[in-house]
Subunit: 436 residues, 2 copies
């Protein structure tokens, strides 16, 4: 039988079934989907392929899913570091956004971010930013998979002036891409402290009508929780619960402030949590109790947040930080083992975004979003357990090849749908503009 692509690999880590490592196996890809996963010798006899790739030093994993980012903010990478959170926001990030954010900024910033993500093995990202129409346009052009956030915030921005306009423009973006194979949408009300009850209720109704997730910063800091108790007489999660927003649709980002009852409630309501360990550390937001959430049965996925607060979109680094930090926070060195961490960065992300039927694991019938990691490097030698090396020793520069829906976007570290030198020129142009 003829297929489009055959990839022969030393190891394949499918994530489903869990804790599995196949040795000397191959993936057959047809029409952008995984046709089969089988031993290489069988694959060679069963299939002929238009394209064949031998990766005998490599591990294949499902493409990594960055469950929370603000892609366009790549243009602000390292603009303001080591500052108090409120000074960072009020005196640096928000003024810079007011001054610079427009369609051009979002287009160029997102292109740089997507290039960084593809070079780092990320094949899908869940974004929250202004001008999501630009984000979607960039991704379709490049071939990147994304869940574009239909942002909503109480104050006027360059993107929209009030709830009506935010929601209208959001629905327009949703309609434009409703049948697109790479672009999905989610409502993205910024946070409990920046979106009031009425628009939140409307989001809840619309999300159900359009059957899409809700992506929101929740319980990021202790200050946010205190403020809510003062203003509303209740913690943000309680308020959202009363507004009916806690459901399997909800992807709650950060969640560094959680008590036992709230953890139980999240599990009960099927809320997913996007853990962003490096951003939480860098901004001293607090520690998300990942170990307890996982124990309680909450679906926890992984995000980098934007590069202004990380300062990269490195999901390998994020997996490593998550696996290490969870152990320290839980005071348990068995917490978040390597396989569990990889699942958080793949299948759990897909589930949180309502995409686990199509992506998140290497399984017959799913989209061929695949990442090859070259483990034949001094920094990952000797090698006793490939998943352990991937989480604790490998770095994103060992990503050699990336496929999204069967289309190769990275080949031997070269981007196939973007021009690296042009991207660097763009970054330099913005750097000079923003510096001045």
């Amino acid at each position: 039988m003829n297929v489009d692509t055959l990839i022969h690999a030393k190891w394949i880590i499918p994530v489903e079934p869990k804790n599995t490592v196949y040795e000397n196996h191959s993936v057959a890809i047809k029409d952008g989907k995984i046709e089969a996963l089988l031993p290489t010798d069988k694959a060679r006899s069963k299939y002929t392929a238009t394209q064949e790739r031998n990766l005998d030093k490599h591990a294949l994993i499902p493409g990594l899913i960055n469950a929370h980012t603000h892609a366009a903010m790549n243009l602000f990478r390292g603009l303001a570091d080591d500052l108090p959170l409120m000074e960072w926001l009020n005196e640096h990030i928000w003024p810079a956004e007011t001054k610079w954010v427009d369609p051009e900024f979002v287009k160029d910033g997102t292109e740089l971010a997507v290039a960084e993500m593809i070079r780092g093995g990320t094949t899908c990202f869940n974004d929250m930013y202004f001008f999501p129409d630009q984000t979607a346009e960039v991704c379709t052009r490049i071939g990147m998979r994304a869940v574009v956030g239909l942002i909503l915030i109480d104050f006027p921005t360059a993107w929209a002036n009030d709830a009506d306009e935010y929601l209208l423009k959001g629905e327009q973006v949703h309609d434009t891409y409703r049948h697109d194979s790479l672009i999905n949408t989610a409502f993205a009300p910024h946070a409990p402290y920046t979106v009031s009850d009425e628009p939140l209720k409307r989001v809840n109704v619309l999300a159900e009508e359009l059957d899409i997730p809700i992506h929101m910063h929740i319980h990021e800091t202790a200050f946010e929780v205190e403020q809510s108790v003062e203003q509303h007489g209740k913690r943000p999660l309680q308020r959202l619960s009363e507004l009916g927003l806690l459901s399997p649709r909800m992807l709650a980002v950060h969640m560094t402030q959680l008590n036992k009852d709230e953890i139980k409630e999240l599990a009960k309501q099927g809320v997913s949590v996007a853990h962003c360990p490096e951003s939480n550390l860098k901004l001293a937001s607090g520690f998300c109790p990942v170990g307890e959430l996982v124990k309680a049965g909450v679906n926890v996925c992984l995000g980098t947040d934007g590069t202004a607060s990380n300062n990269d979109l490195d999901m390998f680094g994020e997996m490593r930080t998550a696996a290490l930090l969870a152990k320290g926070v839980a005071n348990d060195s068995t917490c978040l083992d390597a396989h569990t961490t990889l699942k958080m960065a793949t299948l759990n992300g897909a589930k949180a975004l309502g995409l686990d039927e199509t992506i998140g694991s290497l399984k017959k019938g799913k989209q061929a979003d695949i990442v090859a990691i070259n483990l034949d490097q001094l920094e990952t030698a000797p090698l006793y357990e490939p998943v352990s090396q991937i989480i604790y020793s490998a770095n994103r520069q060992q990503v050699s090849d990336v496929w999204i829906s069967g289309k190769q976007l990275l080949k031997n570290r070269e981007l196939t749908t973007m021009e690296y030198s042009k991207l660097m020129e763009k970054a330099k142009e913005w750097e000079l503009k923003i510096k001045s």
Copy 2:
């Protein structure tokens, strides 16, 4: 005037004076030492050089100093992960050491570790392991700088049988290298719970006679402290204090369990602390209060620990984890800013090892231990502040060139004194042996 080497760089971060970044500057190197640091235009007119290197996209920093490692353990990288500390030690690491550790193991493991460190911008490491004579021999052959630990532990090992033999062999290693320009030594009593009072007293006297540091794991876990209170009726630091071991000679590693009085005492006695954030997280040992230690005036440096508990010797990753984690632990996003973190990984390490007169900063008269980082990469663009990019965005694969005492050991990412393919073969041989 003619010098041996001239390096022209886009940025130079000398670490001394602090918070300084020179743009378009050059380093002149003569007889292995830094002859001058000056603007590139001046350098070109003032000096002729046997070798000249133009690094117009790069930042130069002092070579990174890994203040705590067990280099030979590279052969155990990823051998046993995600286990309870005691099971990890008793059922995996110690049995593996009993079975495998001999001069050949230490020689090969150290070679792999040194290659990894040089490729990652580390130019000096403070080691603690068996057969330090092998470690020293490997480093002199390769051109790596090291402080070799003269290990001491109460139980017999392949290296020595009792305190007398450990100390005798240690002194022999010290004598062999006493006039070596690359190799220094430190006494390395393993830990308070593995070395009894008598040998510790002897170490203290000998360290003063030979004028070398003492390198020891201290207060790594809560269990260690409780155990000491049971057995000795006092916490380990108290016991060491009474034995007279707390002084500027002491480099205390880990220190995750510290009360306010102990922090004051460390500052008062001039004890240095080697912080190993990734190992502490991975083994769930606890959180070293780095922010408080720095505030109290304690000299804090940075180490990776061995790859069996990290799982790499990546000082870039360690700087990043240290800078991020300190903010979370101190609940202060201004804690451990980028410049302070770089100083911890360079000058503070040199000071802890008694080498701050010769290494740790880019300063006239110091040894030319220099690392070039190529910041012209998508992952570090745009660039507003080079030190911020180095700590929060760059990764060790951006290290392009490394010099130790003016000798170039890494050139465009190629090792100049080791054969990469041979190293990989060795790693593979040991992998197969140890797996079986």
